[in-house]
């Protein structure tokens, strides 16, 4: 029983970290129809900044600088590279492919700088854990649950109650009509990219914090695990991103926790399980858990 509780709690905490990453995917997709493959390296960029700056600025200062800088980088990427391409039909697909190129460039440079190092981010939680009845959970993961819940609620509120959110949703419904009604599409879009960049830097903290040993050059790749979570949730819904992430986190933890009983499926199935779940869900609900019918999909 303790084992099951352990897996459930571990899965939820892991899902909360994925949710921060998945939220970035969702915000970008909703605003621009682009599936950003550069998200992982943006995350690594944010994490790297925290790692180099935390000694001088303290953790909070480094985090603030990193969130801002990553937001600016993501915004610049959208404004200077993606938006300048041909805006015709299928532009989102072309831009998605451009993000692959950006990812390679960024990742190569960051990998070169990080090399084989393990960089501590100087976060305040260290390896502290909190006991909840018979099971324990890392403080950093509790923080991740709180931060991702707050982030998702904020993004949800932003979408629903601000002018920017209204513009974004209007553009999502009908780009031309929104433009005719005076929505400044490119600004709305760039702001969304900035938001996603900031979220990526925030997610880096929790991907590198205990139980992980620090920031590695491969930390960005972990972000790809949030990809099935975003797809599961319907790609355009913040709540869906949260639900999808929790589902993926739980799946991973439960499958890894019961690996010996699942040996029929081969060892290491935990890595495949999120994608298997994604496929199964899409078979039943082709638009994802919270997706809307007819949404463009990449």
């Amino acid at each position: 029983m303790t084992g099951l509780l352990d897996d459930l709690l571990g899965g939820l905490a892991l899902g909360a970290v994925y949710a921060l990453v998945a939220l970035g995917f969702v915000v970008i997709f909703k605003a621009s129809g682009v599936l950003s493959f550069a998200h992982g390296s943006l995350l690594l960029f944010g994490g790297y900044l925290i790692a180099v700056l935390h000694d001088d600025l303290g953790f909070a200062g480094a985090l603030a600088v990193a969130v801002l800088a990553t937001a600016l980088l993501a915004g610049a990427l959208d404004r200077l590279l993606l938006q300048r391409g041909d805006p015709g039909p299928g532009a989102a697909h072309v831009q998605t492919i451009v993000t692959i190129g950006v990812d390679i460039v960024l990742l190569t440079e960051l990998s070169r700088r990080i090399g084989g190092d393990l960089l501590p981010l100087g976060d305040p939680w260290g390896d502290a854990v909190t006991g909840l009845g018979p099971v324990t959970v890392a403080d950093s993961r509790l923080a991740a649950i709180v931060v991702s819940a707050v982030s998702i609620a904020s993004v949800f509120a932003l979408f629903r109650y601000t002018r920017w959110g209204l513009s974004l949703r209007a553009a999502g419904e009908d780009v031309e009509a929104a433009a005719l009604m005076g929505v400044r599409l490119s600004r709305v879009r760039t702001l969304a990219w900035c938001l996603a960049g900031g979220l990526a830097a925030l997610a880096a903290v929790f991907l590198a914090a205990f139980p992980a040993p620090g920031l590695e050059r491969t930390t960005g790749q972990i972000a790809l695990k949030a990809f099935p979570a975003a797809v599961l949730g319907g790609m355009a819904s913040p709540v869906g991103a949260l639900a999808g992430s929790l589902l993926i986190g739980l799946t991973e933890a439960l499958v890894a926790g019961h690996q010996s009983e699942l040996s029929l499926l081969g060892e290491g199935f935990a890595d495949v399980a999120p994608y298997a779940v994604m496929v199964l869900v899409l078979l039943v609900r082709p638009t994802g858990l919270f997706g809307t019918r007819g949404a463009a999909r990449v």
């Binding site: 571990g10 393990l118 501590p120 854990v129 019961h258």
Partner: protein, 425 residues
């Protein structure tokens, strides 16, 4: 370095085949060069990479990729060996020169670099990266290029020109199980966990642990992971459920830190034993450092760089003087050791009258007790056997150079002979 990239396998095979075709078609193979070797004024037969003045060696390393830190250590250590050797008059009256090529852990670049340097070198004292070594195996065999890979999978044995120094991963894990049963109270009927990377490294390690555990009447519970898994919470939960009395890990440093840190924080305070590639000095700066110091041991066929062995102390002192500010890790020791062992083979080949590649391999393989003073003596005479059946047990110490200190001196791994016999049949 120790994890073959899964996706690279097919590419690697295709590339190797393409390269082989190209070489065959253009007839520019090193074998052809091998035949063109002549006899020098001093009566020593020469071949590719050897002139009257110089002996040229090659290194295929990673200076810009994931193993850049390790690559730099090895390159510097081997350069130091070359400088020292040349200051003492060189080998066979010739200066030693090392041509270093960076492949950034990219198999395609490595294959190209090999094609570039292989016609002009007589041996390779360094090749980093299991996938790189795998891609080049057939080429170094064909070209009779004595090669010292920085990889220790048993699948690299049985190749005349490829020399794995020390023990292989399976023997390390046999030593680890022995250590646990001998000193950590693991008994018949107990269960131990083994967390391992997919690919050659992990598979070979699991082979060893399974064999040793069966002998000791212990059950092994495996947990296969990938190099990108750095949060091992789920694995720890699973192992705790199995009630493991100890854990073996054959992965990278990040995985070791996560495993030990999580296990300790969850109250699973059992002994953990890692292979040498699973540790790096940087780990002692992570939040997991206290747990590592309390729970972890490392089995290694090389001593710690902080060892009191006179040979190691002399080398480390010289290295710190020459490269002040560079970290001293296990790569320094293994790189220097490989270069010294190669140097010994070259000297033997010279004494026998030929520095042609085949003769260098032959002279190298004739050494049954090669002792560099940097650890245990190596026996290179049986191509199917690991060069050593002895291991050290080390433990983390944040204050020590290289982050490790000796816990047990070198000793022969019990059961190793029996295991090798079983493996052969």
């Amino acid at each position: 370095m120790n994890t073959p990239h899964p996706g690279h396998r097919a590419t690697t095979a295709v590339l190797a085949a393409a390269l082989a075709l190209l070489v065959a078609a253009t007839g520019c193979s090193a074998k052809a060069d091998g035949g063109s070797g002549g006899q020098d004024a001093d009566g020593v037969r020469t071949g590719p990479g050897v002139s009257a003045e110089t002996i040229r060696l090659g290194a295929l390393t990673d200076l810009t990729g994931p193993y850049a830190t390790l690559g730099k250590s090895i390159v510097q250590a081997q350069q130091m060996w070359a400088d020292e050797t040349n200051a003492a008059g060189g080998i066979c009256g010739r200066k030693v020169e090392i041509t270093v090529k960076d492949h950034g852990y990219d198999v395609q670049r490595a294959v190209a670099a090999y094609a570039d340097i292989s016609p002009d070198v007589v041996a390779l004292p360094q090749v980093i990266g299991s996938p790189v070594v795998a891609a080049l195996l057939d080429d170094v065999q064909r070209d009779h290029l004595l090669t010292f890979p920085q990889a220790w999978a048993a699948s690299l044995l049985g190749k005349e020109s490829v020399q794995v120094v020390g023990t292989t991963y399976d023997l390390d894990m046999i030593a680890a199980v022995d250590f646990l049963t001998r000193t950590r109270g693991v008994r018949k009927g107990d269960t131990i966990g083994h967390v391992y990377f997919e690919g050659d490294y992990g598979a070979n390690a699991l082979e060893g642990s399974s064999w040793a555990a069966r002998k000791a009447g212990v059950k092994v519970v495996g947990q296969k992971i990938k190099a990108t898994d750095t949060d091992l919470s789920a694995q720890v939960s699973a192992l705790r459920k199995e009630g493991v009395k100890a854990i073996l890990i054959s992965a990278g440093p990040a995985q070791t830190a996560s495993l030990v840190g999580v296990a300790a924080s969850r109250g699973l305070r059992v002994p953990v034993v890692s292979s040498a590639p699973g540790f790096a000095p940087q780990l002692m700066k992570t939040p997991a450092a206290p747990a590592l110091a309390a729970l972890l041991h490392v089995v290694s066929s090389a001593p710690a760089v902080s060892s009191e062995l006179p040979g190691v102390r002399r080398m480390v002192t010289a290295y710190r003087k020459k490269y002040a500010g560079s970290p001293v890790d296990s790569g320094v020791l293994s790189g220097y050791n490989a270069a010294q062992l190669l140097g010994a083979g070259l000297k033997k080949a010279c004494a026998a009258g030929s520095l042609a590649r085949e003769d260098v391999v032959k002279a190298h393989r004739a050494q049954e007790n090669a002792d560099t003073g940097l650890g245990v003596p190596q026996d290179f005479s049986d191509v199917d056997r690991p060069a050593s059946l002895s291991t050290y047990v080390l433990k983390p110490d944040a204050k020590a150079l290289g982050g490790l200190v000796g816990a047990e001196e070198a000793h022969r791994i019990p059961g190793a002979e029996e295991y090798l016999k079983a493996r052969r049949s």
